[in-house]
Amino acid sequence: MVQQRTNPLRKYIRNRKLPHFFCPGCGCGQILNYFLKAVDDLQLDFKKIITIGGVGCTARIPIYLNTDSLHGVHGRTLAWATGIKLYRPDLKVVIFAGDGDLVSIGGNHFLHASRRNLDVTVILVNNFNFAMTGGQVAPTTPFNSVTMTTPYGSKENTIDVCKLAVSAGATYVSRWSTAKPIQTVKSIKKALQHKGFSLVEILSQCPTNFGRYALRTGDPEKVLEWIKNRSISKTKAEKLNEHELKDKFILGEFIDKKRPVFQGTTLFKEEDN
């Protein structure tokens, strides 16, 4: 047998693109790895997948994948996905977006894509700030944390992306973190197989910007530890009251149901699931 010395998942990555541009210890690299593992386990055809990234650190992930990919306007990933999905429903569309990209700037597209139940998979990497531009405050930044634009602590309340997606009408919603690799891979697999709007929110560490400003450490391990200490599973969270859950991230699967998929206004069929 020939000795293979590199990770076999690297066959899905474009030639000569490694090492990638992410900082040492960035969660985006890990999520790239988890996504490739999920695709490899499901044996999906890479020629039938389109990956889309907007602007931001996370949006650089499609650049490294050996799929057809789009990369460009800030927050408009779901608008593109709608166009692709309506013209070619046989293709699988996967969106990589950061919290600033999808929830802040593309927030409106996000609401309406989940309302329509568009058949796409969204992998939302939540690193609690706008990381690529230097660590500005984002809608997901925890209350009272210091960022580049809030030197005395952010006084804005945070947005719960999973609750928002559930109430807007998404049909598969889950939240995991990079500290839980096995569960995250399982959840990505489930989202890729799901028919309808599927959202996997992954809490990720940003040692360079969020870590240095808010947590006063540039060590990825310590940022990961911070996420781990604040995380709580869904079953445990059901027993606690609102005051105890104030600064916690609830991990788990929030919804998994079936609903008619959006196929364009004139072609809408109710019986088709």
Binding site: P24, L32, N33
Partner: protein
Amino acid sequence: MAIYIDEKICKGCKLCIHFCPNNVFQMRNKINNKGFVIPDVVNESKCTKCKLCELTCPDLAIFVE
């Protein structure tokens, strides 16, 4: 069985040390071509092939065979 680390693309983030349950990796004074201090495989006999390091490496630099 062997653990390979691609020294050219490793960035020395130490996440493999964090995730490994059996302390197989350790930081020594090994420096790669880009100036990053990279981990070394120390206790290879302790490895149980759970492949967590391979899955969680952000740079896809580790391969467990």
